[in-house]
């Protein structure tokens, strides 16, 4: 019932706020960039977890994979990766700004498409699993990846990699990463908004509601599932590349494949905001990030307990999330209502079923 102008104004305000935020609060640029990455996490997790009903605990795998792919490309373009990582940051590699940006740009592209390839590869394996087995299976992928990368000396093993240092001013550096994180989150939102308005959204919902029925109706379920995962992987790969450069140092357990922090946060943010909606993950991620930052600042020592309590309350008493609750409260606002008319409008005086016979025969 909202008019298109109102929507346009809303998006305009958000975009303006996104651009202005780091200029108004320069001390919080890193935190604000993290907010966009959190929103990206929540939105991409919801593609499978909310819209398609497949609760993945391993989406963080693509975050880490993207981070490492991006790093390898950035270093490998101008240097020998094995030598670089073996030195554990002791070698000083000076990049010109041009070299740095070329490497970074190509790295992000490689991360995105590399993760899509990985999604297709692992999709063949994990989509044979349903329900809780899918959740555990995907978690296994992420945990195994962390262990394997930790044992892989070429990329520095458990010691990690210090990424090439941005050659410009520190202020421009943080603004660059902020801008990229903002653009990535906005791109995910715009892309999903379009994607859910096509047949893709309906097919994902059909798989969520009854996959066996969807198969019986001839829907290409495997195709939809794999592409959905690949979409999530594409954007998570990019976010990994950005995050890796933002922190400057990456290693497998805490930074690249943090299953118990970011990996779980993405699920919680969606649950908090409302599964299977476009705005739910955005609202959930924002609220979660704010709560997390506030507790980390003012309740230090108790932050994990506060977070745990929030999770328990959320999962036990408020499963439907903020938007889910709103939907139950005001269904008419979401287009759910009985229409009193019993007949479909007929443009050309056609009597019911018989009217479609020509089309029917054409199709068979």
């Amino acid at each position: 019932m909202t008019s298109p102008y109102l929507k346009l104004a809303l998006y305009g305000c958000l975009a303006a706020a996104g651009i202005a935020a780091p200029l108004v609060f320069p001390d919080y640029t890193f935190q604000l960039a993290m907010l966009w990455i959190m929103i990206l996490f929540a939105l991409t997790w919801d593609i499978l977890g909310g819209q398609m009903g497949y609760n993945s605990l391993g989406n963080i795998f693509f975050f880490g994979a993207g981070m490492y792919i991006c790093a390898i490309v950035q270093i490998g373009l101008y240097y020998d990766v094995a030598e670089y990582t073996a030195a554990f940051g002791a070698v000083q590699v000076d990049y010109t700004l041009r070299e740095y940006l070329t490497g970074f740009g190509l790295g992000l592209a490689a991360a995105a498409f590399g993760c899509v390839a990985l999604a297709f590869l692992f999709g063949r394996i994990v989509f044979g699993l349903r329900g809780p087995y899918f959740a555990i299976g995907t978690l296994g992928v992420a945990l195994a990846a962390a262990e394997l990368v930790g044992a892989w000396d070429y990329v520095g093993g458990g010691g990690g990699i210090s990424l090439p240092v941005y050659p410009g001013e520190p202020e421009t550096r943080s603004l660059l990463y902020y801008g990229l994180a903002f653009l990535a989150a906005a791109a995910v939102f715009g892309f999903l908004r379009w994607l859910y308005s096509t047949r893709f959204g309906l097919a994902l919902n059909a798989i969520r509601d009854d996959e066996e029925k969807a198969e019986a109706m001839g829907i290409h379920t495997t195709r939809y599932k794999t592409v959905a995962w690949a979409v999530a992987a594409f954007f998570l790969g990019i976010s990994g590349g950005i995050f890796g450069n933002m922190t400057g140092f990456i290693e497998p357990l805490e930074v690249a494949f943090p299953t118990v922090t970011f990996g779980i946060f993405m699920v919680l943010m969606v649950l908090l905001g409302g599964k299977g909606t476009l705005w739910g993950p955005v609202i959930g991620a924002t609220l979660f990030h704010v709560i997390k930052e506030v507790t980390w600042t003012y309740l230090l020592g108790w932050q994990w307990i506060t977070l745990g309590a929030l999770i328990i309350v959320n999962v036990i008493f408020f499963q439907q999330g903020i938007l889910g609750w709103a939907r139950e409260r005001w269904p008419e606002r979401f287009g759910v209502h009985v229409d009193e008319s019993l007949q479909a409008p007929r443009p050309e005086d056609a009597p019911g079923l018989t009217a479609q016979q020509p089309r029917e025969q054409e199709a068979t």
Partner: protein, 248 residues
């Protein structure tokens, strides 16, 4: 019209030691309504599942439009135009009735590009007409899961029609529906058959319904084909009566 759309030849299916179907052969002729009856546990749904591709058969062959389908997966069979409904209705509960209808369009020629296609006016019109046909037009914006069991059955039927199948396998379409609604449903099944030319193959327990509707009946008992023929003959066949009521 005489060519059989579905030809089942010598189909045997066993689950462990239990033989659910033994050497069953039958024909579903194009454009007709064919019935499948038999007491509980006689293997009717197993036969349906074999035809629709839910499990591999142990022996025999199943042909649809003259081509072998017994090794094809469910989705491929459905895309060829052989669609089934379920005994326990299955609709997409959290989606609106209209969305249920829109995603049920035929996926026969769907390409990768069609995954992100948008439904044109014709799809909406057709979905609305079919919902009106089953009497659910006024509920089209409600979530399918909020409908009553009988209404969900009607919705599932409308979704099947939306798919433009050549043949529709209906597993107990009237089970759990109140008597008033049953008459309407029979009428609609007949119209779908007559006006849209959809071949129907129906499992039914309600004898009044199936005797009225089908032109040819097959009766299963203990996993074997017991009798076949026009309804009048089946009704008076002593073997069929015995199978239902017992000989003792």
């Amino acid at each position: 019209m005489t060519a059989a759309l579905i030809e089942v030849r010598g189909v045997t299916k066993a689950f462990g030691g239990v033989v659910a179907n033994r050497d069953i052969s039958l024909d579903v002729p194009e454009g007709r309504i064919t019935g499948l009856i038999g007491p509980n546990g006689s293997g009717k749904t197993t036969l349906f599942n074999s035809i629709a591709g839910y499990h591999p058969i142990d022996a025999g062959s199943i042909r649809f439009e003259g081509r072998e389908i017994s090794r094809l997966p469910v989705q491929r069979i459905a895309r060829r135009g052989l669609v089934r409904t379920f005994q326990q209705t299955r609709v997409y509960g959290r989606m609106s009735c209209m969305q249920n209808m829109r995603i049920s369009i035929p996926h026969r020629k769907a390409t990768w590009r069609d995954m992100v296609g948008r439904d044109d006016r014709a799809v909406f019109d057709k979905a609305e007409r079919l919902l009106e046909f089953v009497g659910l037009y006024s509920k089209r914006r409600l979530p399918a899961g909020s409908l009553s069991f009988g209404q969900q059955k009607l919705l599932e039927f409308a979704m099947a029609l939306m798919n433009e199948p050549r043949v529709l396998l209906l597993d107990e379409p009237t089970a759990g529906i109140n008597p008033t609604l049953i008459n309407g449903l029979i009428d609609r099944l007949r119209r779908a058959n007559a006006e849209l030319g959809i071949t129907l193959f129906v499992i039914e327990h309600n004898m009044r319904v199936i005797m009225n509707m089908a032109e040819h009946l097959y009766c299963l008992a203990h996993g074997e084909l017991l009798a076949e023929g026009p309804p009048e003959r089946i009704k008076s066949d002593p073997r069929v009566v015995n199978a239902y009521l017992g000989t003792h």
